[in-house]
Amino acid sequence: MPIYNPSLQSLSAAEVQRYAGMKEAHNFPPAAITAAVQEGRLLAEAKSSWEIFPYDSATSTILAERKIELTATSIKRHLQASQHVVVLAVTIGELLEKTSEHYFAQGSYSHALLLDAAGTTAVEAAADQLEAFIRQQYAQKGFICTRRFSPGYGNWDIRFQPEILRLANAGQVNITSTESCMLLPRKSVTAVIGLQPTYRQQKLQSNSTCSTCSLTNCLSRREKRKDETN
């Protein structure tokens, strides 16, 4: 079972700022952001595991030992024309979230929030790194990878989470889920990547994963909210 431990040699301050809900704040002390970025790098323990399976796009079935048919239209559309799927699970562990909670309890609210945002940035960066690793490996075999798609995106039910964790063999990097399908540690990501043969390559939609999300009021959404235009 492949293990890949992403190396967080940098974290984007702009992303931390966005996840903290202030993508356009210009007068916030940069030192506060830098401190959160540094501490985020210090506390994130990035680990991931992934597995590849043949995929039958005609029946939307992941051909694992026990076949798994996908029913949600969003994930089916995302994986159309894919011949294989990579199922992945990434985490930065518990240390960061515990530290953030501690700061909050001490009354350092903004630092706790920024550190939490640094954690989100770190787990997304770790997932990006794993995705790039997989993309490059399969490009050599003539495959184009779709971007990653997670349970909860579009109408893909988050209750698929335990199945995804099982397929990605996420237990070996200590990711589990609660009864309500939340990932533990909380700063974890699971996703599926489709491998399409080059000749069937489709024009991938917008790079922004936000464009498919229905949470239009999300503070970290990449586009402006409608009521923000003035």
């Binding site: 492949p2 293990i3 890949y4 431990n5 190396s7 967080l8 040699q9 903290a20 809900g21 202030m22 356009e24 704040a25 007068n27 916030f28 002390p29 506060a32 830098t34 540094q38 790098r41 210090l42 506390l43 990035a46 953030s100 909050f104 009354g107 350092s108 609210y109 903004s110 706790a112 929030l113 920024l114 939490d116 790039a132 690793f133 490059q136 490996q137 490009a139 050599q140 075999k141 003539g142 495959f143 909860g152 988050i158 209750r159 609660t178 009864e179 309500s180 399908c181 939340m182 533990l184 909380r186 043969p197 080059t198 000749y199 949470l215 009021n217 999300c218 503070l219 009521d227 923000e228």
Partner: protein, 793 residues
């Protein structure tokens, strides 16, 4: 130098010869050796000078997939035999060694020693069967290449070719650039360094140019026949033999003296390449200056030398005299060490010294952990600082780059144990002029001692690019001429030896007051005497100032531009201050809250109390007014959540100050709120933010935490009789618990005002769940709570 031509792809040819899909290619070495020989013959007939054995996947980790892990020797020997059967008189056989398919620690879970053992097993078999050379190829990670090359060098003296696979961004998948690869592999003793697979010749051209500039060996290249496409289930490489042949002379001009093909290339491609190279020869010169030193991490190279920028070596990862750090290391906790690494790099260190010298610990184990962790965290090269040879070897194995070994003295035991390790793992050495006879006092004696170390190093196989000379710093307070002797040593080193120099600066000021003054002055003098890489505390402000000024004076910072950026007086804060000064004390408190100035609000509140303002007036006219203003700014999108929180923190400081001075008066009370994240939901940062904002706005908040069942919430409402209940859910799977909780509260005959919120919630959902209102965010929740209390008081 004439260009030698390799063969092309083996896999493509095997498939054409009928190898079934999914069948172990290496098994044909035993079962169908004639087919293997035939492929070799075809390549030789088409011009290949060197053929590669059919052993790319013949290591035990790869063979395990086919249940053939115990057949390593047999399959490799059979492959060489099949190759030998095909050879023309001048054909050379290269034993092909491919990746294990697993990533080494810390990127993956394969142990370094295991990897070395796996490669040794295969290479031993190839060598026993008498290949002419080993070719380690298609490796995507520098650490795996290090393991394979070290394995090869420990079992054979035959030449070893090392080829990495680079991606379209010019780096290997795990981030190594060609320059770093060239430096690490040259130092490890690779005989040829190159690139193969993953890219076509056009994309590999720049990689080859970079390798040729920085490697001290000949260069090889085996591109794919263009970028692959998967057509009707088959991987197709689009480049024709004629197109490929056009690139061959360009690759030779870029510095490659071994050229062949990888995936998708056929005997026709090799013939075309051979023809195109008939009258081409290669001449090239490595760029690295004769005596300069290059150190690398996995992803970055730092050069040290007289024409290079000053390379600061951070000295702070050292538990000597630092009780807290020593205790942490002893407990197996490296957070403090990692913090020092990040901090020093941020402060300008280009290289980090790493010392784990804590008495009573397993230093070797600590070195392995810390070199793994730091290699994942920072991209600057590391220095291994230990006197323990076992710990040194562990660090050398763990580190996926070219490290520097600190403190190689002329003491005979040190030379005997450290130099072979430096050679084996391709590390550079810091030569410390100390001998069995003790500390040499004069510059001339130190030079003599350095010469002794260098001579021993050459005898152990090290090269002129492997040295950094320490000038040795003694204490001025104890010895009048200590500093002058060190400066004289620096000058002598430069004049007589030419290798770059270093020294631990701070020793000089030991026992003197205001040590940073002495250190900075000494640093400036040492730079002029030829110091290239000072070991120092990068946080020292005076040292930073001295280095910035020195860079300007030495012409490294043209016209002092960087210096000016750092030290030009900044007028902006003064303006802000003077604006604040025009306000009265209450105005200043309000401004401090708005700006989130946690520290400055405390004396301001104290001042206001002295001026006779009551706690109530300060709260209403300054603090609450500020929070209201922040709330309005937030609603209008002019300020953002972290700013609101910073203001709340400032407000908290102010309240605590009021409480301290006027405990009876300071209480403000708007109402009671019971707040919880509902059952099944474990996210509570959002809920915590709402709770904190409510609290700082005068509410008494009873926070039940996260994952709280409806009956617990009902019970809390019964006991505390709150005015308001706040419920939060973040996920679609948990938001139904909001409905259940509200129903349970109502069923119990209780009727607090209910406010709900959380990422997936909407106004519509809140109404359907029978909540009294929906809060889109924390500020909104405070506004709703306040207006409810106002209407119902």
């Amino acid at each position: 130098m004439k260009v030698s031509v390799f063969d092309g792809a083996m896999g493509t040819m095997l498939q054409a010869a009928g190898l079934p899909a999914g069948y172990c290619p290496e098994l044909w070495n035993l079962e169908n050796p004639a087919a293997i020989s035939k492929i070799h013959q075809t390549y030789i007939a088409n011009g290949a000078d060197i053929i590669e054995t059919n052993t790319f996947g013949a290591n035990r980790i790869k063979l395990e997939h086919y249940g053939l892990a115990d057949q390593v020797a047999t399959l490799n020997e059979a492959a060489v035999k099949a190759a030998r059967a095909a050879c023309a008189p001048h054909t050379k056989i290269a034993g092909s060694v491919g990746p294990t398919g697993k990533l080494l620690e810390p990127l993956g879970d394969l142990n370094f020693d295991t990897a070395v053992d796996v490669f040794q097993e295969q290479i031993r078999a190839l060598v026993a069967a008498d290949v002419d050379m080993i070719i380690i190829e298609t490796i995507i990670d520098l650490q795996e290449m290090r393991a394979a090359l070290i394995a090869a060098k420990t079992v054979t003296t035959k030449p070893v070719i090392c080829q990495l696979s680079f991606g379209a961004d010019g780096r290997t998948i795990t981030g190594t650039d060609p320059e770093t690869a060239a430096i690490v592999l040259s130092a490890l003793g690779a005989d040829v360094i190159g690139a193969n697979c993953s890219l076509g010749p056009a994309q590999l051209l720049q990689v080859i140019e970079q390798l040729a500039l920085h490697a001290q060996t000949p260069i090889s290249v085996q591109p794919n026949a263009g970028m692959p496409e998967l057509i009707h289930g088959e991987t197709v490489f689009p480049m024709t033999p004629a197109e490929m042949a056009e690139w061959a002379p360009k690759l030779a001009a870029a510095g490659a003296s071994y050229i062949g093909g990888c995936c998708g290339t056929t005997p026709a491609h090799i013939q075309a390449v051979k023809t195109a190279l008939l009258h081409v020869s290669v001449t090239r010169q490595a760029r690295q200056r004769r005596f300069d030193l290059a150190l690398t991490s996995r992803t970055r190279t730092v050069h040290i030398g007289s024409k290079q920028p000053l390379a600061l070596i951070g000295e702070r990862i050292n538990p000597t005299g630092r009780k807290a750090m020593a205790a942490e290391i002893k407990a197996g906790n490296f957070i403090g060490v990692k913090k020092e690494a990040l901090g020093q790099v941020a402060a300008g260190a280009k290289i980090l010294d790493v010392n784990m010298g804590v008495p009573g610990i397993d230093q070797a184990a600590a070195m392995t952990t810390v070199f793994h962790e730091l290699s994942m965290l920072v991209d600057v090269p590391l220095v291994i600082d230990t006197t323990d040879a076992a710990a040194l070897e562990c660090a050398l194995k763990a580190y996926p780059g070219r490290a520097l070994i600190n403190s190689v003295s002329a003491e005979s035991e040190r030379l005997a144990s450290f130099l072979p390790l430096a050679k084996k793992y391709g590390a550079a050495i810091l030569c410390l002029p100390l001998s069995d006879k003790g500390v040499p006092r004069t510059a001339a004696e130190r030079l003599q001692c350095a010469r002794q170390i260098i001579a021993a190093a050459f005898a152990a196989g090290l090269k002129p690019n492997d040295f950094l000379l320490d000038a040795l710093v003694l204490t001025t307070a104890a010895e009048q001429n200590a500093a002058l002797e060190t400066l004289a040593t620096l000058r002598l080193y430069r004049q007589e030896l030419g290798y770059p120099s270093t020294m631990g600066l701070s020793n000089v000021s030991f026992g003197l007051p205001q040590r940073p003054i002495v250190n900075a002055a000494f640093c400036a003098m040492a730079l002029e005497a030829g110091l290239d890489a000072p070991i120092l505390n990068p946080y020292d402000e005076r040292m930073k100032e001295t280095l910035a000024a020195a860079a300007a004076l030495r012409g490294e910072d043209p016209c002092g531009q960087q210096y000016s950026l750092l030290y030009a007086p900044n007028s902006a804060p003064l303006e802000a201050k003077s604006a604040a000064l025009t306000l009265d004390t209450l105005g200043q408190i309000k401004s401090a809250v708005l700006q989130g100035e946690k520290e400055s609000v405390i004396p301001l509140v104290e001042q206001a109390l002295q001026e006779g303002f009551s706690s109530l007036v300060i709260t209403d006219n300054a603090l609450t007014a500020a929070m209201n203003e922040i709330g309005i700014a937030f609603g209008a999108g002019r300020c953002f959540l972290p700013q609101v929180l910073l203001a709340a923190e400032t407000m908290r400081s102010a309240f605590l100050t009021l409480k301290k001075h006027l405990p009876a008066e300071a209480e403000t009370y708007l109402g009671t709120v019971v707040i919880a994240t509902v059952k099944g939901d474990i996210h509570d940062l959002g809920k915590n933010i709402v709770a904190a904002l409510l609290e700082n706005n005068g509410f008494k908040v009873i926070d039940l935490g996260k994952d709280v069942a409806p009956d617990c919430i009902v019970e809390a409402v019964r006991i505390h009789k709150p005015d308001i209940v706040g419920l939060c859910a973040l996920m679609t799977t948990t938001m139904t618990k909001i409905d259940e909780t509200i129903a349970a509260i109502k069923e119990a005959g209780l009727s607090p005002y209910t406010i709900v919120g959380g990422a997936v919630l909407t106004k519509e959902y809140a109404l359907a769940a029978a909540a009294d209102c929906f809060a889109a965010n924390g500020v909104d929740a405070v506004t709703l709570a306040k207006s409810f209390m106002k209407e119902n008081k």
